[in-house]
Symmetry: C2
Amino acid sequence: MDIKSIVKRTGQTLSSYLTYEAMRAVVDQLRETDPPRAHWLASFSSSGNLQDGEAYLQELLRANRDLAFRIMTVRQHLAEEVLDFLPERVGAAIAEANLKLRCAHLEQAVGWGEDRGRDFKERDAQA
Amino acid sequence: MDIKSIVKRTGQTLSSYLTYEAMRAVVDQLRETDPPRAHWLASFSSSGNLQDGEAYLQELLRANRDLAFRIMTVRQHLAEEVLDFLPERVGAAIAEANLKLRCAHLEQAVGWGEDRGRDFKERDAQA
């Protein structure tokens, strides 16, 4: 496994995702203050080019400079607010999700799961 | 902006992305040792259900328990190796990308960019 490349790709994915969240936040703000621009930005952003946040912003800069600058400001703000929480949170979430998946699968394998309630009732009835 | 919800969604995106990277790593390993299983796993994983890493693993657990457990182990390893680097890296990358986008746009706005070379030549010719 090439960890260095994975760090790089994960970083790009995260950066593009924050650009997407910034776009959503700006659309939400505009819905209050300027619905036609909110509609325009939502349409512009639904063409799927948000897979690559940088390419999206380059295109938006040509189409509407003010909105592009606004999204750039918001994504930097989001980066400051959000990033520090992620390592611990995601690390713990993955460990917990793995544990849950293992347990659920073990329960199915030994025939528990949906039948557990019935089993307990049967045991209670026998007692 | 609801920062708490954004942290949550970003965390889920990141967790699903690491599940995707773990699947890729396992496919690469299997290509060396067991090409038919590599092919099977790649086909199983290309159906687009990797948008949600947990749903993907639940499905894979039913279809092939060993591969699901292997991917779960690899994604936990990746989380340990990768996550700590991300906040600083992505924060700096966004700040730098914003600066570059602003500069490139400014250059275009004042008529530099592609014409810059020609301008210098004209100036040199006039001098």
